[in-house]
Symmetry: C2
Subunit: 196 residues, 2 copies
Amino acid sequence: MTTAKRDTYTPETLLSVAVRVFNERGYDGTSMEHLSKAAGISKSSIYHHVAGKEELLRRAVSRALDRLFGILDEDQARTGRAAERLEYVVRRMVEVLIAELPYVTLLLRVRGNTATERWALDRRREFDHRVAELMKAAAADGDVRGDVEVRLATRLVFGMINSIVEWYRPDGRGMGEREVADAVVTLVFGGLRRDG
Amino acid sequence: MTTAKRDTYTPETLLSVAVRVFNERGYDGTSMEHLSKAAGISKSSIYHHVAGKEELLRRAVSRALDRLFGILDEDQARTGRAAERLEYVVRRMVEVLIAELPYVTLLLRVRGNTATERWALDRRREFDHRVAELMKAAAADGDVRGDVEVRLATRLVFGMINSIVEWYRPDGRGMGEREVADAVVTLVFGGLRRDG
């Protein structure tokens, strides 16, 4: 039995509980019953806030996607040389990933079984495409190497950035958001090899 | 009902079916019933080959781990400057990942609920540690930059390499194992920035 607690949730606070459960059990493996237990309120109380678990998924991945697309609208992503804009975007992606860790984690695990999941995958591809365009422009300027195909380079760089969700924990002993963002920018643009 | 087919499996061919099902459904989400249906033989025929699904998991991740640890015993991983050995190991990791794609994919998705999964995670950590030691030696030689902490750099490099399982498909239109391995080595050591 669920120990009923007074429903003091808003759609936003309920969302943070749902995202935690989705990340733990997988979206497919989560039932309204699981959400009800985790939130400590009845299923009908949850239905008072949202139409169902797919709406919670949509709200959660929208939050991650809005933050990611928001980066592309920031001044430093829009003005200056393409290579500098690209560097800014890579740094901000790491910062957003860490600031919105559970939401971005969920977004990256979406697999595409429902309309919402397919929509999220489409939006992710669109974001990847926008960053790939920036990389292409930087290569055309001669600032980024031309010997690695842009689509492949984009995938590998995104792979490095996205892998952070697998091990970064906010209470990590001493490793801050800044240190991780600096390391990613250094490695993505300069590589491991010592210069000179 | 399972359409019974004559059991012509060996432990190895049965393994390839099991790995495919584990990757599709997740290890936790796979029952002996699912394996029996996918293989087209009865559950008791499967038990003739293996003690259960955990044995199949152990054999599958062992195969991936043996190939990965095997790299470290190869001549070029054992002789020469640390930076050259590291470069060789990074290239071979990509090659092994692609050659053993389903097995490495399964290894990377292991989460640690059973004794076999915890053992696999320990072995993965041990492999990561061996590569981190190589990176540390290369930094001590002055060949690898010292401004990114070795453990963090190792995680990010592994993140880039391991992300290949998310998108690489053997029938990929024209993108071969060699092109991917070259791109990873170029980016990991030289970065995106054009030299000079």
